[in-house]
Protein backbone atom coordinates (compact mmCIF):
# COMPACT_ATOMS: atom_id res chain seq x y z
CA UNK A 1 0.00 0.00 0.00
CA UNK A 2 1.13 3.57 -0.63
CA UNK A 3 2.47 5.98 1.91
CA UNK A 4 -0.61 7.96 3.05
CA UNK A 5 1.21 11.30 3.04
CA UNK A 6 2.40 10.72 -0.51
CA UNK A 7 -1.10 9.77 -1.57
CA UNK A 8 -2.39 13.01 -0.07
CA UNK A 9 0.17 14.90 -2.12
CA UNK A 10 -1.20 13.30 -5.23
CA UNK A 11 -4.74 14.13 -4.15
CA UNK A 12 -3.78 17.78 -3.93
CA UNK A 13 -2.89 17.60 -7.61
CA UNK A 14 -5.66 15.19 -8.55
CA UNK A 15 -8.56 15.15 -6.07
CA UNK A 16 -9.96 11.76 -7.00
CA UNK A 17 -6.66 9.89 -6.63
CA UNK A 18 -7.11 6.44 -5.12
CA UNK A 19 -5.41 3.09 -4.96
CA UNK A 20 -6.51 0.28 -7.22
CA UNK A 21 -4.98 -3.10 -6.31
CA UNK A 22 -4.58 -5.92 -8.80
CA UNK A 23 -2.76 -9.24 -8.52
CA UNK A 24 -0.77 -8.17 -5.47
CA UNK A 25 0.29 -4.87 -7.00
CA UNK A 26 -1.13 -1.45 -6.25
CA UNK A 27 -1.80 1.15 -8.89
CA UNK A 28 -2.91 4.71 -8.28
CA UNK A 29 -5.84 5.93 -10.29
CA UNK A 30 -5.68 9.63 -11.17
CA UNK A 31 -8.93 10.70 -12.78
CA UNK A 32 -8.83 13.62 -15.22
CA UNK A 33 -5.15 14.25 -14.70
CA UNK A 34 -4.09 17.53 -16.31
CA UNK A 35 -1.33 16.87 -18.80
CA UNK A 36 1.45 19.37 -19.63
CA UNK A 37 0.61 22.34 -21.81
CA UNK A 38 0.28 21.54 -25.48
CA UNK A 39 -0.86 17.96 -24.96
CA UNK A 40 -3.77 16.56 -26.89
CA UNK A 41 -5.86 15.61 -25.01
CA UNK A 42 -5.21 18.22 -22.33
CA UNK A 43 -6.24 15.79 -19.64
CA UNK A 44 -6.80 12.06 -19.29
CA UNK A 45 -7.46 9.44 -16.70
CA UNK A 46 -4.14 8.03 -15.56
CA UNK A 47 -2.88 5.01 -13.70
CA UNK A 48 0.42 5.39 -11.89
CA UNK A 49 2.43 2.24 -11.42
CA UNK A 50 5.01 3.05 -8.76
CA UNK A 51 6.52 -0.42 -8.79
CA UNK A 52 8.54 -2.43 -11.24
CA UNK A 53 6.56 -3.64 -14.24
CA UNK A 54 7.87 -5.19 -17.45
CA UNK A 55 11.40 -4.16 -16.66
CA UNK A 56 10.52 -0.52 -16.01
CA UNK A 57 11.05 0.68 -12.42
CA UNK A 58 7.81 2.70 -12.65
CA UNK A 59 5.29 3.48 -15.34
CA UNK A 60 2.45 5.84 -16.12
CA UNK A 61 -0.57 4.68 -18.12
CA UNK A 62 -3.14 6.96 -19.72
CA UNK A 63 -6.70 6.35 -20.88
CA UNK A 64 -5.67 7.58 -24.32
CA UNK A 65 -2.36 8.23 -26.07
CA UNK A 66 -1.06 11.78 -26.32
CA UNK A 67 -1.01 12.87 -29.93
CA UNK A 68 2.43 13.57 -31.31
CA UNK A 69 4.29 13.03 -28.06
CA UNK A 70 5.96 9.97 -26.62
CA UNK A 71 7.06 7.06 -28.75
CA UNK A 72 6.32 3.35 -29.03
CA UNK A 73 2.86 3.64 -27.55
CA UNK A 74 1.43 0.30 -26.51
CA UNK A 75 -1.81 -0.88 -24.99
CA UNK A 76 -2.45 -2.72 -21.74
CA UNK A 77 -5.40 -4.07 -19.80
CA UNK A 78 -5.18 -3.27 -16.10
CA UNK A 79 -7.93 -3.27 -13.49
CA UNK A 80 -10.53 -4.13 -16.12
CA UNK A 81 -9.80 -1.02 -18.17
CA UNK A 82 -7.67 -0.30 -21.22
CA UNK A 83 -4.63 1.89 -20.82
CA UNK A 84 -1.88 3.23 -23.04
CA UNK A 85 1.74 3.86 -22.20
CA UNK A 86 4.84 4.90 -24.02
CA UNK A 87 8.53 4.27 -23.91
CA UNK A 88 9.92 6.33 -21.03
CA UNK A 89 12.25 4.51 -18.71
CA UNK A 90 14.38 5.08 -15.65
CA UNK A 91 11.91 6.99 -13.53
CA UNK A 92 13.01 5.63 -10.21
CA UNK A 93 10.64 4.14 -7.68
CA UNK A 94 12.89 5.47 -4.91
CA UNK A 95 11.18 8.86 -4.70
CA UNK A 96 7.87 10.30 -3.64
CA UNK A 97 4.84 9.37 -5.70
CA UNK A 98 4.38 12.88 -6.96
CA UNK A 99 7.97 12.94 -8.16
CA UNK A 100 7.42 9.67 -9.99
CA UNK A 101 4.34 11.12 -11.65
CA UNK A 102 6.12 14.31 -12.66
CA UNK A 103 9.07 12.26 -13.88
CA UNK A 104 6.80 10.53 -16.37
CA UNK A 105 4.99 13.69 -17.42
CA UNK A 106 8.41 15.14 -18.25
CA UNK A 107 8.18 13.10 -21.46
CA UNK A 108 5.50 15.49 -22.75
CA UNK A 109 7.22 18.77 -22.02
CA UNK B 1 -30.86 -6.68 -20.24
CA UNK B 2 -28.82 -9.71 -19.26
CA UNK B 3 -27.78 -10.69 -15.76
CA UNK B 4 -25.51 -13.64 -15.09
CA UNK B 5 -24.29 -15.01 -11.79
CA UNK B 6 -21.04 -16.87 -11.34
CA UNK B 7 -19.55 -18.51 -8.32
CA UNK B 8 -16.99 -21.20 -7.66
CA UNK B 9 -17.99 -24.75 -6.88
CA UNK B 10 -16.14 -24.40 -3.58
CA UNK B 11 -18.28 -21.44 -2.57
CA UNK B 12 -21.47 -23.13 -3.68
CA UNK B 13 -20.70 -26.17 -1.54
CA UNK B 14 -20.08 -23.91 1.47
CA UNK B 15 -23.45 -22.31 0.91
CA UNK B 16 -25.25 -25.64 0.56
CA UNK B 17 -23.59 -27.08 3.62
CA UNK B 18 -24.78 -24.18 5.72
CA UNK B 19 -28.30 -24.12 4.32
CA UNK B 20 -28.65 -27.84 5.06
CA UNK B 21 -27.97 -27.39 8.79
CA UNK B 22 -31.05 -27.79 10.95
CA UNK B 23 -32.28 -24.80 12.90
CA UNK B 24 -34.03 -25.00 16.28
CA UNK B 25 -37.31 -23.66 14.87
CA UNK B 26 -36.91 -22.33 11.30
CA UNK B 27 -37.77 -24.87 8.61
CA UNK B 28 -35.12 -23.54 6.28
CA UNK B 29 -32.07 -21.34 6.47
CA UNK B 30 -31.11 -18.19 4.61
CA UNK B 31 -27.77 -16.60 3.87
CA UNK B 32 -26.08 -13.91 1.84
CA UNK B 33 -23.42 -14.20 -0.81
CA UNK B 34 -21.28 -11.08 -0.97
CA UNK B 35 -20.24 -10.45 -4.55
CA UNK B 36 -18.40 -8.20 -6.88
CA UNK B 37 -19.86 -7.20 -10.20
CA UNK B 38 -19.03 -6.00 -13.68
CA UNK B 39 -20.78 -4.86 -16.81
CA UNK B 40 -21.62 -6.88 -19.91
CA UNK B 41 -21.92 -4.74 -23.00
CA UNK B 42 -24.23 -3.17 -23.90
CA UNK B 43 -26.34 -3.03 -20.73
CA UNK B 44 -25.99 -6.26 -18.74
CA UNK B 45 -24.41 -7.27 -15.47
CA UNK B 46 -22.35 -10.12 -14.21
CA UNK B 47 -22.45 -10.79 -10.47
CA UNK B 48 -19.46 -12.74 -9.12
CA UNK B 49 -19.90 -14.57 -5.83
CA UNK B 50 -17.03 -13.99 -3.41
CA UNK B 51 -17.95 -15.03 0.14
CA UNK B 52 -20.82 -16.48 2.12
CA UNK B 53 -22.43 -15.00 5.22
CA UNK B 54 -24.86 -17.30 7.02
CA UNK B 55 -27.67 -15.80 9.03
CA UNK B 56 -26.90 -16.48 12.69
CA UNK B 57 -29.27 -18.77 14.57
CA UNK B 58 -30.38 -15.97 16.88
CA UNK B 59 -31.37 -13.78 13.95
CA UNK B 60 -34.27 -15.97 12.88
CA UNK B 61 -37.75 -15.01 14.01
CA UNK B 62 -40.33 -17.71 14.77
CA UNK B 63 -43.14 -17.68 12.25
CA UNK B 64 -45.53 -20.52 11.60
CA UNK B 65 -46.52 -19.42 8.12
CA UNK B 66 -43.11 -19.23 6.41
CA UNK B 67 -40.12 -21.55 6.26
CA UNK B 68 -37.68 -18.95 7.46
CA UNK B 69 -38.14 -15.42 8.66
CA UNK B 70 -35.09 -13.34 9.40
CA UNK B 71 -35.16 -10.45 11.79
CA UNK B 72 -33.66 -6.98 11.62
CA UNK B 73 -30.39 -8.22 13.12
CA UNK B 74 -29.74 -10.40 10.07
CA UNK B 75 -30.45 -7.57 7.71
CA UNK B 76 -28.26 -5.18 9.69
CA UNK B 77 -25.33 -7.61 9.55
CA UNK B 78 -25.78 -8.12 5.79
CA UNK B 79 -25.89 -4.37 5.22
CA UNK B 80 -22.75 -3.97 7.32
CA UNK B 81 -20.93 -6.40 5.03
CA UNK B 82 -22.03 -4.39 1.98
CA UNK B 83 -21.04 -1.17 3.70
CA UNK B 84 -17.55 -2.30 4.80
CA UNK B 85 -16.55 -3.10 1.24
CA UNK B 86 -18.46 -2.12 -1.88
CA UNK B 87 -20.29 -5.36 -2.54
CA UNK B 88 -23.32 -6.65 -4.30
CA UNK B 89 -25.38 -8.80 -1.96
CA UNK B 90 -27.19 -11.95 -3.03
CA UNK B 91 -29.89 -13.34 -0.77
CA UNK B 92 -29.85 -17.15 -0.95
CA UNK B 93 -31.94 -20.01 0.34
CA UNK B 94 -32.62 -23.52 -0.88
CA UNK B 95 -35.48 -25.85 -1.70
CA UNK B 96 -35.12 -29.49 -0.91
CA UNK B 97 -35.71 -31.15 -4.28
CA UNK B 98 -33.99 -31.84 -7.59
CA UNK B 99 -34.68 -29.91 -10.75
CA UNK B 100 -35.30 -26.25 -11.44
CA UNK B 101 -36.34 -24.38 -8.31
CA UNK B 102 -38.80 -21.52 -8.30
CA UNK B 103 -39.56 -18.59 -6.06
CA UNK B 104 -42.69 -18.91 -3.97
CA UNK B 105 -44.86 -15.86 -3.33
CA UNK B 106 -43.23 -15.56 0.07
CA UNK B 107 -39.77 -15.81 -1.47
CA UNK B 108 -40.61 -13.02 -3.90
CA UNK B 109 -42.00 -10.86 -1.14
CA UNK B 110 -38.96 -11.35 1.09
CA UNK B 111 -36.47 -10.68 -1.71
CA UNK B 112 -38.38 -7.56 -2.73
CA UNK B 113 -37.99 -6.40 0.88
CA UNK B 114 -34.28 -7.17 1.01
CA UNK B 115 -33.05 -5.40 -2.11
CA UNK B 116 -34.23 -1.85 -1.35
CA UNK B 117 -32.54 -2.20 2.05
CA UNK B 118 -29.20 -2.95 0.43
CA UNK B 119 -29.60 0.02 -1.87
CA UNK B 120 -29.55 2.18 1.23
CA UNK B 121 -25.86 1.35 1.53
CA UNK B 122 -24.92 0.37 -2.03
CA UNK B 123 -27.23 2.12 -4.43
CA UNK B 124 -24.86 1.94 -7.39
CA UNK B 125 -24.44 -1.81 -7.51
CA UNK B 126 -26.73 -4.63 -8.64
CA UNK B 127 -28.11 -7.04 -6.05
CA UNK B 128 -29.88 -10.34 -6.37
CA UNK B 129 -31.82 -13.13 -4.76
CA UNK B 130 -31.35 -16.78 -5.68
CA UNK B 131 -32.81 -20.09 -4.68
CA UNK B 132 -30.97 -23.39 -4.94
CA UNK B 133 -32.26 -26.88 -5.47
CA UNK B 134 -30.10 -29.95 -5.13
CA UNK B 135 -28.85 -29.61 -8.69
CA UNK B 136 -29.96 -26.25 -10.03
CA UNK B 137 -30.47 -22.57 -9.28
CA UNK B 138 -32.74 -19.74 -10.24
CA UNK B 139 -32.91 -16.11 -9.25
CA UNK B 140 -33.58 -12.49 -9.94
CA UNK B 141 -31.33 -9.48 -10.13
CA UNK B 142 -32.01 -5.81 -9.66
CA UNK B 143 -29.89 -3.29 -11.45
CA UNK B 144 -29.10 -0.01 -9.69
CA UNK B 145 -32.00 2.37 -9.58
CA UNK B 146 -34.58 -0.04 -10.94
CA UNK B 147 -37.44 -1.65 -9.07
CA UNK B 148 -37.86 -4.18 -11.84
CA UNK B 149 -36.62 -7.65 -11.06
CA UNK B 150 -34.85 -9.35 -13.94
CA UNK B 151 -34.52 -13.12 -14.14
CA UNK B 152 -30.90 -14.19 -13.95
CA UNK B 153 -30.23 -15.66 -17.36
CA UNK B 154 -27.16 -17.80 -16.72
CA UNK B 155 -25.64 -19.39 -13.67
CA UNK B 156 -22.06 -20.58 -13.94
CA UNK B 157 -20.58 -22.81 -11.28
CA UNK B 158 -16.86 -22.61 -11.80
CA UNK B 159 -15.09 -25.81 -11.03
CA UNK B 160 -14.31 -29.10 -12.63
CA UNK B 161 -16.62 -29.76 -14.38
CA UNK B 162 -17.70 -26.28 -15.39
CA UNK B 163 -21.47 -26.17 -14.97
CA UNK B 164 -23.55 -23.64 -16.80
CA UNK B 165 -27.27 -23.43 -16.18
CA UNK B 166 -28.93 -21.32 -18.81
CA UNK B 167 -32.41 -19.99 -18.32
CA UNK B 168 -32.78 -18.20 -21.64
CA UNK B 169 -32.45 -21.23 -23.91
Amino acid sequence: MSNPAELEELKALCPGAQEIPEARQVYIFLPNLKLPAGCKPPQADALLCAHSREGYPTRLFLSQPVVGKGSNWNTHRIADKTWHTWSWNYVSAEQRLIQILLGHLEAFR
Amino acid sequence: MKIIFKLTEVLLQRVKEDLRRPHPFAFERVGFISSRSGRIPPNGWVILGYDYHPVDDEDYVPCASVGALIGPGAMRKALQVAYNEPLSMVHVHSHDHRGTPAFSKVDLRESARFVPNVWNVRPNLPHAAIVLSEDSLCGFGWEPGSQRRIPIGDFTIVGVPLRIIRKNT
Partner: protein, 266 residues
Protein backbone atom coordinates in the same frame (compact mmCIF):
# COMPACT_ATOMS: atom_id res chain seq x y z
CA UNK C 1 -27.71 -38.57 -39.45
CA UNK C 2 -26.49 -35.82 -37.18
CA UNK C 3 -23.04 -34.57 -38.15
CA UNK C 4 -21.94 -34.81 -34.52
CA UNK C 5 -23.08 -38.42 -34.21
CA UNK C 6 -19.51 -39.65 -33.84
CA UNK C 7 -18.97 -37.54 -30.77
CA UNK C 8 -22.11 -38.69 -28.97
CA UNK C 9 -19.86 -40.49 -26.47
CA UNK C 10 -19.19 -37.05 -25.00
CA UNK C 11 -22.41 -37.49 -23.11
CA UNK C 12 -26.08 -36.69 -23.18
CA UNK C 13 -26.72 -33.03 -23.85
CA UNK C 14 -23.11 -32.56 -24.96
CA UNK C 15 -24.23 -31.17 -28.27
CA UNK C 16 -26.50 -28.60 -26.66
CA UNK C 17 -23.82 -27.77 -24.10
CA UNK C 18 -21.32 -27.07 -26.86
CA UNK C 19 -23.88 -25.17 -28.91
CA UNK C 20 -24.64 -22.87 -25.98
CA UNK C 21 -21.02 -22.12 -25.09
CA UNK C 22 -19.64 -18.64 -25.57
CA UNK C 23 -15.91 -18.97 -26.24
CA UNK C 24 -13.32 -16.31 -26.95
CA UNK C 25 -10.10 -16.90 -28.86
CA UNK C 26 -7.61 -14.12 -28.28
CA UNK C 27 -5.07 -14.29 -31.08
CA UNK C 28 -6.05 -16.14 -34.25
CA UNK C 29 -2.60 -16.67 -35.63
CA UNK C 30 -0.70 -19.94 -35.70
CA UNK C 31 -2.19 -21.42 -32.55
CA UNK C 32 -5.53 -19.67 -32.48
CA UNK C 33 -6.43 -20.64 -36.04
CA UNK C 34 -6.15 -24.31 -35.06
CA UNK C 35 -8.35 -23.71 -32.02
CA UNK C 36 -10.92 -21.91 -34.16
CA UNK C 37 -11.04 -24.77 -36.62
CA UNK C 38 -11.47 -27.40 -33.94
CA UNK C 39 -14.13 -25.48 -32.05
CA UNK C 40 -16.10 -25.19 -35.27
CA UNK C 41 -15.82 -28.91 -35.92
CA UNK C 42 -16.99 -29.90 -32.46
CA UNK C 43 -20.00 -27.61 -32.68
CA UNK C 44 -19.21 -24.67 -30.41
CA UNK C 45 -22.12 -22.30 -30.82
CA UNK C 46 -20.71 -18.84 -30.15
CA UNK C 47 -17.14 -17.88 -30.92
CA UNK C 48 -15.54 -14.49 -30.43
CA UNK C 49 -12.29 -13.80 -32.27
CA UNK C 50 -9.96 -11.02 -31.14
CA UNK C 51 -6.92 -10.12 -33.23
CA UNK C 52 -5.81 -6.85 -34.83
CA UNK C 53 -3.35 -8.39 -37.24
CA UNK C 54 -3.40 -9.00 -40.98
CA UNK C 55 -2.03 -12.02 -42.77
CA UNK C 56 1.41 -11.83 -44.38
CA UNK C 57 3.33 -14.12 -46.64
CA UNK C 58 5.37 -15.50 -43.74
CA UNK C 59 2.16 -16.63 -41.99
CA UNK C 60 1.24 -19.08 -44.71
CA UNK C 61 3.46 -21.79 -43.28
CA UNK C 62 1.12 -22.13 -40.30
CA UNK C 63 -2.04 -20.03 -40.36
CA UNK C 64 -4.87 -22.52 -40.78
CA UNK C 65 -7.37 -21.31 -43.36
CA UNK C 66 -5.13 -18.65 -44.91
CA UNK C 67 -4.52 -18.62 -48.65
CA UNK C 68 -2.21 -16.82 -51.07
CA UNK C 69 -5.20 -14.77 -52.14
CA UNK C 70 -5.64 -13.60 -48.53
CA UNK C 71 -2.03 -12.45 -48.48
CA UNK C 72 -2.49 -10.53 -51.74
CA UNK C 73 -5.41 -8.59 -50.30
CA UNK C 74 -3.84 -8.21 -46.87
CA UNK C 75 -6.80 -9.90 -45.19
CA UNK C 76 -7.54 -9.62 -41.50
CA UNK C 77 -6.79 -12.74 -39.49
CA UNK C 78 -10.20 -12.56 -37.82
CA UNK C 79 -11.80 -12.52 -41.27
CA UNK C 80 -9.91 -15.66 -42.27
CA UNK C 81 -10.85 -17.45 -39.05
CA UNK C 82 -14.49 -16.39 -39.41
CA UNK C 83 -14.61 -17.74 -42.94
CA UNK C 84 -13.04 -21.01 -41.82
CA UNK C 85 -15.53 -21.45 -38.97
CA UNK C 86 -18.57 -20.62 -41.06
CA UNK C 87 -17.51 -23.00 -43.82
CA UNK C 88 -17.38 -25.83 -41.28
CA UNK C 89 -20.55 -24.95 -39.41
CA UNK C 90 -22.80 -22.22 -40.72
CA UNK C 91 -24.83 -22.24 -37.50
CA UNK C 92 -21.95 -20.99 -35.42
CA UNK C 93 -22.36 -17.41 -34.29
CA UNK C 94 -18.95 -15.84 -34.95
CA UNK C 95 -17.99 -12.30 -34.07
CA UNK C 96 -14.63 -10.85 -35.02
CA UNK C 97 -12.92 -7.91 -33.33
CA UNK C 98 -10.14 -6.64 -35.57
CA UNK C 99 -8.42 -4.60 -32.92
CA UNK C 100 -6.04 -5.10 -30.05
CA UNK C 101 -7.87 -7.39 -27.66
CA UNK C 102 -7.47 -4.89 -24.85
CA UNK C 103 -9.67 -2.48 -26.79
CA UNK C 104 -12.51 -5.02 -26.93
CA UNK C 105 -11.89 -6.79 -23.63
CA UNK C 106 -15.34 -5.99 -22.20
CA UNK C 107 -16.77 -8.67 -24.49
CA UNK C 108 -14.83 -11.26 -22.51
CA UNK C 109 -16.84 -10.56 -19.36
CA UNK C 110 -19.57 -13.08 -20.14
CA UNK C 111 -17.52 -15.70 -21.93
CA UNK C 112 -17.58 -19.24 -20.61
CA UNK C 113 -14.01 -20.03 -21.65
CA UNK C 114 -11.17 -17.88 -23.00
CA UNK C 115 -8.36 -19.26 -25.11
CA UNK C 116 -5.14 -17.23 -25.07
CA UNK C 117 -3.14 -17.81 -28.22
CA UNK C 118 -0.90 -14.77 -28.09
CA UNK C 119 2.80 -14.36 -28.67
CA UNK C 120 3.90 -12.34 -25.69
CA UNK C 121 4.25 -13.10 -22.02
CA UNK C 122 2.88 -9.72 -21.02
CA UNK C 123 -0.25 -10.37 -23.11
CA UNK C 124 -0.77 -13.74 -21.45
CA UNK C 125 -0.37 -12.20 -18.03
CA UNK C 126 -2.91 -9.48 -18.77
CA UNK C 127 -5.32 -12.03 -20.25
CA UNK C 128 -5.13 -14.31 -17.26
CA UNK C 129 -5.78 -11.40 -14.89
CA UNK C 130 -8.73 -10.32 -17.05
CA UNK C 131 -10.14 -13.86 -17.02
CA UNK C 132 -9.71 -14.27 -13.25
CA UNK C 133 -11.58 -11.02 -12.65
CA UNK C 134 -14.66 -12.66 -14.13
CA UNK C 135 -14.10 -16.20 -12.80
CA UNK C 136 -13.57 -17.41 -16.36
CA UNK C 137 -11.48 -20.49 -17.10
CA UNK C 138 -8.53 -19.44 -19.22
CA UNK C 139 -6.63 -21.82 -21.46
CA UNK C 140 -3.23 -20.61 -22.59
CA UNK C 141 -1.02 -22.06 -25.28
CA UNK C 142 2.59 -21.13 -25.77
CA UNK C 143 5.26 -22.42 -28.12
CA UNK C 144 8.85 -21.50 -28.65
CA UNK C 145 11.68 -22.55 -30.95
CA UNK C 146 15.04 -21.59 -29.61
CA UNK C 147 18.62 -22.36 -30.27
CA UNK C 148 20.89 -23.82 -27.65
CA UNK C 149 24.35 -25.28 -28.01
CA UNK C 150 24.06 -25.33 -31.76
CA UNK C 151 20.74 -27.14 -32.02
CA UNK C 152 17.11 -26.09 -32.17
CA UNK C 153 14.67 -26.94 -29.43
CA UNK C 154 10.92 -26.89 -29.85
CA UNK C 155 8.97 -26.61 -26.62
CA UNK C 156 5.60 -25.45 -25.42
CA UNK C 157 2.83 -25.87 -22.94
CA UNK C 158 -0.90 -25.73 -22.59
CA UNK C 159 -2.32 -24.56 -19.29
CA UNK C 160 -5.83 -24.40 -17.89
CA UNK C 161 -5.96 -21.54 -15.41
CA UNK C 162 -8.93 -21.99 -13.09
CA UNK C 163 -10.10 -19.52 -10.44
CA UNK C 164 -8.85 -20.63 -7.06
CA UNK C 165 -6.09 -22.76 -8.56
CA UNK C 166 -2.42 -21.84 -9.08
CA UNK C 167 -1.97 -19.22 -11.76
CA UNK C 168 0.67 -18.93 -14.44
CA UNK C 169 2.80 -16.79 -12.14
CA UNK C 170 2.64 -19.49 -9.46
CA UNK C 171 3.93 -21.98 -12.03
CA UNK C 172 6.75 -19.82 -13.31
CA UNK C 173 5.21 -19.57 -16.78
CA UNK C 174 5.55 -15.78 -16.88
CA UNK C 175 9.21 -15.07 -16.17
CA UNK C 176 9.90 -11.41 -15.32
CA UNK C 177 13.04 -11.31 -17.41
CA UNK C 178 11.18 -12.49 -20.52
CA UNK C 179 8.50 -9.85 -19.98
CA UNK C 180 11.15 -7.18 -19.50
CA UNK C 181 12.91 -8.28 -22.67
CA UNK C 182 9.69 -8.04 -24.63
CA UNK C 183 9.05 -4.55 -23.33
CA UNK C 184 12.56 -3.48 -24.29
CA UNK C 185 11.95 -4.71 -27.82
CA UNK C 186 8.65 -2.77 -27.86
CA UNK C 187 6.72 -5.96 -28.39
CA UNK C 188 8.10 -6.80 -31.82
CA UNK C 189 7.79 -10.53 -32.34
CA UNK C 190 10.19 -10.21 -35.23
CA UNK C 191 11.00 -13.29 -37.21
CA UNK C 192 10.92 -15.78 -34.36
CA UNK C 193 10.77 -19.32 -35.68
CA UNK C 194 7.23 -20.66 -35.90
CA UNK C 195 5.96 -23.89 -37.44
CA UNK C 196 2.57 -25.51 -37.77
CA UNK C 197 2.78 -28.89 -36.16
CA UNK C 198 3.65 -27.83 -32.58
CA UNK C 199 0.86 -25.24 -32.83
CA UNK C 200 -1.49 -28.00 -33.87
CA UNK C 201 -0.48 -30.25 -30.99
CA UNK C 202 -0.80 -27.50 -28.39
CA UNK C 203 -4.10 -26.27 -29.79
CA UNK C 204 -5.48 -29.81 -29.76
CA UNK C 205 -4.42 -30.23 -26.14
CA UNK C 206 -6.10 -26.93 -25.32
CA UNK C 207 -9.38 -27.91 -26.95
CA UNK C 208 -9.12 -31.27 -25.21
CA UNK C 209 -8.80 -29.52 -21.85
CA UNK C 210 -11.90 -27.51 -22.59
CA UNK C 211 -13.82 -30.62 -23.56
CA UNK C 212 -12.86 -32.29 -20.28
CA UNK C 213 -14.08 -29.22 -18.48
CA UNK C 214 -17.45 -28.78 -20.14
CA UNK C 215 -18.76 -32.11 -21.40
CA UNK C 216 -19.90 -35.06 -19.28
CA UNK C 217 -17.66 -37.68 -20.92
CA UNK C 218 -14.91 -37.07 -18.39
CA UNK C 219 -16.54 -37.72 -15.03
CA UNK C 220 -13.47 -37.33 -12.86
CA UNK C 221 -12.36 -34.12 -11.24
CA UNK C 222 -8.79 -34.49 -12.29
CA UNK C 223 -8.38 -32.40 -15.39
CA UNK C 224 -4.66 -32.25 -16.00
CA UNK C 225 -4.17 -28.56 -16.15
CA UNK C 226 -0.54 -28.17 -17.26
CA UNK C 227 0.72 -30.15 -20.20
CA UNK C 228 4.30 -29.74 -21.37
CA UNK C 229 5.29 -30.44 -24.93
CA UNK C 230 8.77 -31.47 -25.99
CA UNK C 231 8.94 -31.03 -29.74
CA UNK C 232 12.27 -32.81 -30.04
CA UNK C 233 11.28 -36.05 -28.37
CA UNK C 234 7.69 -35.55 -29.58
CA UNK C 235 6.24 -36.12 -26.15
CA UNK C 236 3.60 -34.48 -24.03
CA UNK C 237 3.79 -34.91 -20.31
CA UNK C 238 1.74 -33.85 -17.40
CA UNK C 239 3.76 -31.30 -15.48
CA UNK C 240 4.78 -32.17 -11.96
CA UNK C 241 4.72 -28.48 -10.98
CA UNK C 242 1.05 -28.70 -10.05
CA UNK C 243 1.70 -31.58 -7.67
CA UNK C 244 4.22 -29.42 -5.87
CA UNK C 245 1.66 -26.62 -5.56
CA UNK C 246 -1.22 -28.93 -4.71
CA UNK C 247 -2.10 -27.54 -1.32
CA UNK C 248 -1.03 -23.98 -1.97
CA UNK C 249 -3.61 -21.29 -2.49
CA UNK C 250 -2.68 -18.90 -5.30
CA UNK C 251 -1.42 -15.71 -3.61
CA UNK C 252 -1.80 -13.60 -6.77
CA UNK C 253 -5.58 -13.65 -7.01
CA UNK C 254 -6.82 -14.22 -3.50
CA UNK C 255 -8.11 -10.74 -2.84
CA UNK C 256 -11.57 -9.26 -3.25
CA UNK C 257 -9.90 -6.51 -5.26
CA UNK C 258 -9.09 -8.97 -8.03
CA UNK C 259 -12.73 -9.67 -8.76
CA UNK C 260 -15.07 -7.70 -11.04
CA UNK C 261 -14.72 -4.11 -12.14
CA UNK C 262 -12.92 -2.06 -9.48
CA UNK C 263 -14.11 1.20 -11.05
CA UNK C 264 -17.75 0.33 -10.43
CA UNK C 265 -17.36 1.07 -6.76
CA UNK C 266 -14.34 3.34 -6.64
Amino acid sequence: MNKHQRQSFLGPNSESILRSLRIAIVGVGGGGSHVAQQLAHIGAGNILLLDHDRVEDTNLNRLVGATEEDVKRNALKVEIAKRLIRAIDSRTDVTGFDCLWQNAADVLHDCDVIFGCVDQFTERKQLEIAARRYLTPYIDIGMDVHEAAGRFIIAGQTYLSMPGQPCMSCLGLLPDEAIAREAAEYGAAGSRPQVIWPNGILASLAVGLMMQLVTPWFPGHNVTALLEYDGNSQTVTRSLKLDLLDEIRCPHFCSLQDLGDPFLWS
